[in-house]
Amino acid sequence: MNRSDQTIAALHGVSRRFGTVLALDQVSLEVRRGEVLALLGPNGAGKTTAISLLLGLQQPDAGSADLFGVPPRSNGARNRIGAMLQTGGVPDTLTVAELVGLFRSYYPRPRSVADTVNLAGVADLLRRRYGTLSGGQQRRAQFALAICGNPEILFLDEPTTGLDVEARATLWKTVRQLVAEGSAIVLTTHYLEEAEALADRVDVLARGRIVASGSVQQIRARVAQRRIRCVSALAPEAVARWPEVRSVARAGERIEIVTDAAEIVVRQLLFEDTTLSDLEVHRAGLAEAFVEITREAA
C-alpha cells in the first residue's frame, strides 16, 4: 500500500441531529496521510459538527467515524492527533509555558518544547498567563497545544479567526511545514483564500451535506463563471441585454461582466467596440464558486 494514499481519518455516512435540526446528513469524507483537507461552508453548515465527530467529542446518530482505523475515542488514536477547537477555553490563570508542559506530558512522543515554541511562534509569550494574551496571541497558544504532541493529523477549526494578516501568514507557513513533514491536516475556515492557499482537497458543506468535493481547481471548474474586465465605449446597459451575460457592473472607467460563456462575449465585445482596451478575463475564485455551489444546494 502506498503510504501517501493511506486514509487516516474518515466519516462513513454520518448523520447527526440536534433537536429538529439535522446538522449533518449522511456525510462521508476521508483524509489521507500528508494532505490538507479544507471543510468549507457558511455558518451552520455542519463544519464544526463534522470535526467533533472525527474527534469523538460527539457520537453520530447514524454512520461511523474512525481515526487510524479505530474509534476516535481510543487512546491509540488520541495519542496521534492534535486539535485546535473554536471553543478552546484555556484557563486564564496558567502561563503558556505551563500549558505546553501539561499538554506535552499527555503524549507518549511529544515534540520538543523548543520546536513547539518556534513553530507556533509563542517564544515571547511563554511566561505570560493565558488570560493576559490578546485574541490573536491566544490562538497562537492554542496552536502550540495542538502541535506539541507531535500529531500525525491536526484538526484546525477556524484557526485564523481573529488573527491579523501577519499572524495568519505565519500560521499558513507553519501548516505547510507540518505537511511537508508528513502531517495530515483538516481545516475548517470562513476564509476562502485560506482554503485556496493551503488545501489539497476541499469539501464544501451546505446545510449538513457535502455539495462539492475535489481539488481547488475542480471546485472552481464546477462553476463556468468568468469575469471580464475592459475599458469600453459600450453602454453597460446594452451589454447587460446580451443573452450570455449574467451581470454588468461599472468599476471606475472599466466595466466588469460576469458570464458563463466568456469566448462568445469577448468576440462580441471586440466586434462591437474596436476601441476596446485593457481586456482581462478571470476564472471565478473559490469565493464565487462557493457561493454558486451553495446556492444550487439551496
Binding site: L67, R80, A83, Y106
Partner: protein, 258 residues
C-alpha cells in the same frame, strides 16, 4: 502489519505518574491564582461555625461537641461541591475539558487532581475549625479523636466530589454556583448539621438517610461517642454507594456533553 493501525502505546508507569503530578500541580496553581474562589471557600465554613456554632450556641458542652462534629462535615462539603460542581461546569462549558479529552489526557488525572485539591481544602478548613473549637468552643477531645475526625473530614470529600461532578457535568457555568448552594445548604440543614435531628420535625429525621451528609455526620458523631448508636458500616456503605451512583451518572452525562 500495517503501521497505520493504532497500536496501543504502553506508557511507562513513571510517565503516567508524572502526568498525574503535573495535573495536580497546575490545578493547585490555578486555584492559588484565583483567590476569589479560594478565600470564600476557605472562610465561609469557619465564619458560619463562629456565628451559629459558637456565638449563638452558648449551651452545654454536649451541644458544643455535637456541633463541632457536624460543622466539620459542613465545612468539607463546600470545597468538594464548589470545586467540582462549579469548576467542571466552567471547564466543560468553555471547552477546556473537550480539548483535554481530545488530547490523550488520562481522565483519572483530571478527577484526581481536583479531588486532591478538595482534600487539601478540607484539611485546612478542618484545622481552622478544630483550632476554634479547641480554643474558644470548649471542645475537649483526645488526640486520637481529633485525628480521626480529621481523617473522616478529608476522606468525606469523596461522595461530595462525585455529587459535584454530577452537577458540573450538566449545569451551565453561570447557574452552577446557585445550584450548588441550593443543594448544599438545605442538605446541611436536613442532615442535622446545624441542629440535632431530634429537635426537628420527625419527618426530617425519617428522610435524613437519603442525604450523604447525614451518613458522614453520623460517622463523625460516633467518633466522639455522640452518635445515635447505629452501626458504622451501613453509613460507610451508603456513602460509597452514593459516590458510585453519582459518578456513574456524571460519566454518562459527560460522554453525551461537549
Amino acid at each position: 502489519m500495517n503501521d497505520s493501525l493504532a497500536l496501543p502505546v504502553a506508557r511507562p508507569l513513571g510517565d503516567t505518574l508524572a502526568v498525574y503530578a503535573l495535573e495536580a500541580k497546575y490545578e493547585f496553581l490555578r486555584v492559588l491564582r484565583t483567590p476569589a474562589f479560594a478565600l470564600p471557600t476557605l472562610l465561609f465554613p469557619p465564619m458560619f461555625y463562629l456565628l451559629f456554632g459558637l456565638l449563638l450556641n452558648r449551651g452545654s458542652a454536649n451541644a458544643a461537641h455535637y456541633l463541632f462534629a457536624t460543622y466539620s462535615v459542613f465545612g468539607v462539603m463546600a470545597p468538594s461541591l464548589f470545586g467540582f460542581g462549579v469548576g467542571v461546569a466552567i471547564e466543560r462549558e468553555r471547552g477546556w475539558l473537550a480539548l483535554k479529552r481530545v488530547a490523550p489526557m488520562p481522565p483519572g488525572a483530571y478527577l484526581l487532581s481536583k479531588m486532591v485539591m478538595a482534600m487539601l481544602f478540607a484539611a485546612i478548613i478542618y484545622l481552622v475549625l478544630a483550632a476554634m473549637a479547641w480554643s474558644i468552643g470548649g471542645v475537649h477531645l483526645e488526640a486520637g479523636q481529633w485525628l480521626l475526625l480529621g481523617v473522616i473530614a478529608v476522606g468525606g470529600v469523596v461522595p461530595f466530589c462525585a455529587l459535584g461532578l454530577m452537577i458540573g457535568s450538566r449545569a451551565n457555568a453561570s447557574g452552577a454556583p446557585a445550584l450548588v448552594n441550593l443543594i448544599y445548604l438545605p442538605m446541611a440543614f436536613l442532615s442535622g448539621l446545624w441542629m440535632p435531628l431530634t429537635l426537628l420535625p420527625a419527618l426530617v429525621g425519617q428522610i435524613a438517610p437519603l442525604w450523604p451528609a447525614y451518613h458522614l455526620a453520623q460517622l463523625s458523631l460516633a467518633t466522639i461517642g455522640r452518635g445515635d448508636g447505629s452501626a458504622v458500616l451501613p453509613h460507610v456503605a451508603a456513602l460509597v454507594l452514593f459516590a458510585l451512583a453519582c459518578f456513574a451518572v456524571a460519566r454518562r452525562w459527560l460522554a453525551r456533553a461537549s
